[in-house]
Each structure stands twice: as structure tokens, then as C-alpha cells.
Point group: C2
Chain length 335, copies 2
DNA sequence: TTGTACGCGTTATCAA
DNA sequence: TTGATAACGCGTACAA
């Protein structure tokens, strides 16, 4: 590939002049023109590798969403890309399939000297926290909060989301409500569980441990657990699924077993999916203010990247309330 | 960050010895141990930027799927990641939002000296073809074929997919069938249109240009166009939507206008979405053999990356047939 | 306004 | 088996 040298030779100037021409240095218009012409002629494109090696950092921002196939993620990406582009930085996305490959991916990105990372952290425990904290790259976390981690975080009030949905179902007269949780230990899982439990207790209802299912944030396990529940002795009148994909798994399980939603079993969930309107029945769900959250996340990251001194900016947190969107997936038992 | 120098100093050896220790050079077991200990102590991780600058290429493979939010893409990613990982290479994903930012993104990836690219090319026309051809990076295209481009390509027989679906609807007695196409000029759009037209002609039916809608591969335009069609004077008995997202847009439009599917209007489409089973009615659609295609795509790319001489491998093409999955979205008009 | 020389962190060559 | 040194392509003092 053509280097800065080839351009210099072709334009009949020195390499430093070429460099200056590309970096708003003091170069006469005439020579600048000769240089750009020469660059085009030899097909020159600056070697970002060399630039980054020199400067110590690249202009790449890594987005690490955990599971790239969760449609939930598309909304984050769109907003983040827009702002990154405006700041003349590019987004690259790296999938991790949960926590399994996360460390490998982060090491790679670190070694690539990315300018910053936006990460949905999938791990738990103190070693994990320590690991994240030790990464000396500007970093903003979103969605999953890691307790004790001294990093920026943006997310939704998950406890509130679960509580609002549970209260809604309680108001409709439901008493046997099943909660299907994601991976145990994850922030969103635990907060959503707490919201559910709080609403039940406030209504003076006990928690039936048989109706507290443990799954993960993928559809197939939710499908299996729901099937197991509905073929067993205890049958709830309503289910709160901890996320969108799980809700669809649970719904599929109901349908496959011949249950009707909402006539036989009601269903609510947290998080949107595209074409939610086409899933029948239309689900009642809690929606996160993703646009606002994503905008803040990238704004904070850019601030950190452009700041001389990382430590000068203390860790910040933003937690916004969700909204409830009513569908047709809940039966009114009071009538 | 710690460099090879810090390790050398700490281990009391020269930097070249450290380098050798990390690159299966001839180093005694004793010094190797000292070096790995020292590396751990100072928290050394090799600077991939410097390595790549030296070697001229990184170990990153870029996946450029056009629209990252199309669920269609998740299947490609999963398979490709698995094989890349096995070859000790990492995948980064770059979104382009159609053709608009594609060139910018490709330039960036080129400047980053990625090892290779897997791209779903969104452009058309001879200049676009020439541009892609001139990129001197190992490259495999998928899904969209660019006529005349001398590059590897894997994809599905799109003409066949559309023909099979159209024939199916014709067999059920439909005569007024509407075709909604994606961006004009795109390979998949044109082939799918041809398949539709071929099936109609073979059945001795004329093409009604009023029933040939032009949209793009996103849901909202399909929604608008379907709405326009169904509120107009000519009403088809069936619709063939050119992809999954468009089908959902068309379905939503029908529902919003009070039409029932399939009783009033039948619908078929090409490409799967996850939880397709939950969309009511379950759609009849053509599915691509994505696993096979993705496996071949990454295999070919790795071959090119590891080959000394690019030109030694002539451009290859693989086109596999689709399968039809029957749902409940088509009415039988013969009864 | 332009050119020379050095360094970023690494690998490869060659000498010790 | 080890170590000194020259690249890789670029940016930037500093000198001319």
C-alpha cells in the first residue's frame, strides 16, 4: 500500500510536508494541492495503525453489548453511532455471548488500544469487578450495573419496572403470579426480582418459591422452564418474564401446550422488541428510555476520551424510570 | 501501559529475548519462566497496534452486514464468529445503514489494516463495482451479489425462492398477487422480482404494474406502500414481500386497515426472523441455508488471508437453494 | 515554508 | 541461547 513516502516522492516534497498537509499544518495552498493530487494518484490512505501507535490511542470506540442478537441492542447502537460519527469516531461492535468470552474480547480491544469502550457487563462477583476496574481505558457501562465498580453507568430503574408490572397484574385480580428471572446474580435479574417481591409483599401476598423460576436472558431456557411449570401441579394465572426474549419463549410454551393468553394465563415483560405489535396478543411491557440513556452514555464516554485526566471526572450514574405500555396480554379477573 | 522493554528490564534480559519468548523463538526454559513471571508482574500485554504495523496486517476480521438490526444477520454472525475464533482471529462488526456510509466504513477498515472483510455490499453500478474491486484486502461478499465483481460470493438462489413462493400462491388459486420489492438495482431485489414475474408468466398471467411496489428493505416504507395499495382501487388477494422486515411492515398495514390475514389477503416472504412462530398468522416463507453459506464464507476468507498470493485463488461462487416453510398466512381460494 | 531526525512497540536479522 | 540494531509508517520538534 502507498505510504506517506510515496506521496512525498510523487509530489516532490518531503514527508513532513505531506504529514503537515493532512494535519492542518502550515503548508502553502499550492503545495497542498500538489500533495492531495499525488495522494489520490498513488491511492494513499493514512495507516491508522501507525497513527495510533504514535499517538497511543486509536479513534475507534468499541461497543460490547453482551448479546448482539437481542433486538434490544439495536436501539442503543443507532443512537451511539450517530453521536460517535459526529465526533469523527467510528464504532465497532464486539459480541461476547454472555460472560464466557467477555474477558477475551476486552483484552483484545485493550490491546488494539481502542479509544474507549461502552460495555454491557455480563459478569458478577468481586474479581470481576476488580478486573473491570483495572482496565485503563475510558469506559462507560450500561444496562447491567456492577456493584462497587467505580465507573460511569447508565440504566433503567429495573426494580420500578418490575414493581409497576406486578402491581398492574395485582390490580387486575391476579394472585398466583410467576416470576421468570434471568441469570442469577446479574443486576437486572436481582432488581427485577426485588421489584416483584416488593409488590407482592405490599399486597400482603406470600412468595411461592415454586413460582420463582430461574432461567437466563435467552428464549430457549425460558421456554423449557415455562413448559415445566405449566405441566406441573401449580399453575399461575399470570407470568412476569424478566425480558423480551424470555417473554416470547414463555408465550411460545403456553401456546404449544394449548393455553390461551390472556384467557388462561396473563403475561407481562420488560423491554421492547421490534414488531412487538405483531405478536399476538400484543404484550403489556415496560419500556426503557433507550434514546436518552444511549445519548448520555456516549456523551460521557466522549468526555472521558477527550479529558486529559481520567481521575478528574468522578464516576457518574444515571438511572431513568421506565414506562408501561399496555397491551392485551393480561386478563381482568375481577369481572 | 507496560511494554516489552519493561518486561526485559524486570527479567534482566534484552527485548529481543522477550520477543522470542512470546513467539516460539529459541529461549531456554529458565529465562522463559523468568520472562513470563516478569510479564505478569508488570501487567504486560503485547501492543497489537505495533505488531500489526510490523507485519502489515492485523488479526481482525471485519463483518459488514449492511443493516446490523436485521435479525437475519444474527445467524451469519454466530457461525462466522465460531470459525474465526477457531482460527485465532477476532470479528468486529461495522454497521453501514445501507450504502450511505458504506464507503466511509470500508475506508476506515482498510486504514486499520484489517486482515479481511466479509461484506454484504449495498451498492450498485459500475463505479461501485470498480471501487470494491480496487480494495486490496482479502474480501468475501455475501447475500448481495455485485455483477461483474471479481470476488468470492456466497448466497441463495433468490430467483428460485420468489418463484417457489409465487407458484405456491398460484396453486392456491391466487391471481391478483402483489410483489413488494426492496431497493431497485440490488441483486436480491431484482432476482426476486424475476422469480415472481417468471412464475406469473409461466401461469399465463400478465404482470399488473400497479401491483409491483417499490420499497426498501426496511419495514416502514413497506408499511406505507402497502397502506397506499390497500386504500386504492386495486386490491390483490395475496402479497409477496421481498424480505422478512418488509413482510412484518405489510402485515401491520393490513391489520391496521382492518384486513384479516389470510382470510382477506394472503402473505408470503423471504427470510426468517426469530420468534417467527409467534407472529400471527404464522407466515409462509422461504428460508436460506445460512449456516452452510456462512461457514463457506468464512472458510474462503481465511483461505485468502492465509494465502501468499491473492491472485492464485480465482473468484469463487456458491449459490444454494432455499427451502419453503409453510405457515398459515395463505388462503386457499379453490374451495 | 520545508526538511532532518527521532521515537512509538514490535519483529527479524545477524553477530556474539 | 542471547543481544544489538534496523526496519514498519507516522507525527513532531527543531533546524534550515
Amino acid at each position: 500500500m502507498a505510504t506517506i513516502r510515496d506521496v512525498a516522492k510523487r509530489a516532490g516534497v518531503s514527508i513532513s510536508t505531506v504529514s503537515a498537509a493532512f494535519n492542518e499544518g502550515r503548508v502553502s495552498d499550492e503545495t497542498k494541492r500538489r500533495i492531495t493530487d499525488a495522494a489520490r494518484a498513488v491511492g494513499y490512505s493514512p495507516n491508522l495503525l501507525a497513527q495510533s501507535l504514535k499517538s497511543g490511542r486509536s479513534r475507534l470506540i468499541a461497543l460490547v453489548p453482551g448479546d448482539i442478537t437481542n433486538p434490544f441492542f439495536g436501539n442503543w447502537l443507532t443512537v451511539i453511532e450517530k453521536h460517535a460519527l459526529a465526533a469523527n469516531r467510528a464504532i465497532i461492535v464486539s459480541n461476547t455471548h454472555g460472560v464466557a468470552r467477555e474477558q477475551t474480547v476486552l483484552e483484545l480491544l485493550k490491546a488494539q488500544r481502542v479509544a474507549g469502550m461502552l460495555i454491557n457487563p455480563q459478569g458478577t462477583g468481586p474479581e470481576y469487578r476488580a478486573y473491570l476496574e483495572a482496565i485503563d481505558v475510558p469506559l462507560v457501562t450500561f444496562d447491567q450495573f456492577v456493584p462497587g465498580l467505580e465507573r460511569d453507568y447508565v440504566g433503567t430503574d429495573n426494580e420500578l419496572a418490575a414493581r409497576m408490572l406486578t402491581e398492574y397484574m395485582l390490580r387486575l385480580g391476579h394472585r398466583q403470579i410467576c416470576f421468570i428471572g434471568g441469570q442469577p446474580g446479574l443486576w437486572t435479574t436481582e432488581r427485577r426480582r426485588e421489584g416483584f417481591v416488593a409488590a407482592m409483599h405490599q399486597a400482603g401476598l406470600p412468595i411461592d418459591e415454586d413460582l420463582m423460576l430461574i432461567a437466563n436472558y435467552e428464549g430457549d431456557v425460558a421456554y423449557r422452564e415455562t413448559t415445566r411449570l405449566l405441566t406441573g401441579p401449580k399453575r399461575p394465572t399470570a407470568i412476569l418474564a424478566s425480558n423480551n426474549v424470555m417473554a416470547l419463549g414463555a408465550l411460545q410454551a403456553m401456546i404449544d401446550l394449548g393455553f390461551r393468553c390472556p384467557q388462561d394465563i396473563s403475561l407481562t415483560t420488560i423491554d421492547d422488541v421490534p414488531w412487538m405489535g405483531l405478536v399476538k396478543p400484543r404484550l403489556t411491557f415496560a419500556i426503557q428510555p433507550l434514546h436518552e440513556l444511549a445519548a448520555v452514555a456516549i456523551k460521557w464516554l466522549l468526555e472521558r476520551i477527550e479529558s486529559r485526566d481520567q481521575a478528574a471526572i468522578p464516576p457518574r450514574r444515571m438511572i431513568l424510570p421506565p414506562k408501561i405500555i399496555l397491551g392485551e396480554s393480561c386478563a381482568d379477573l375481577r369481572v
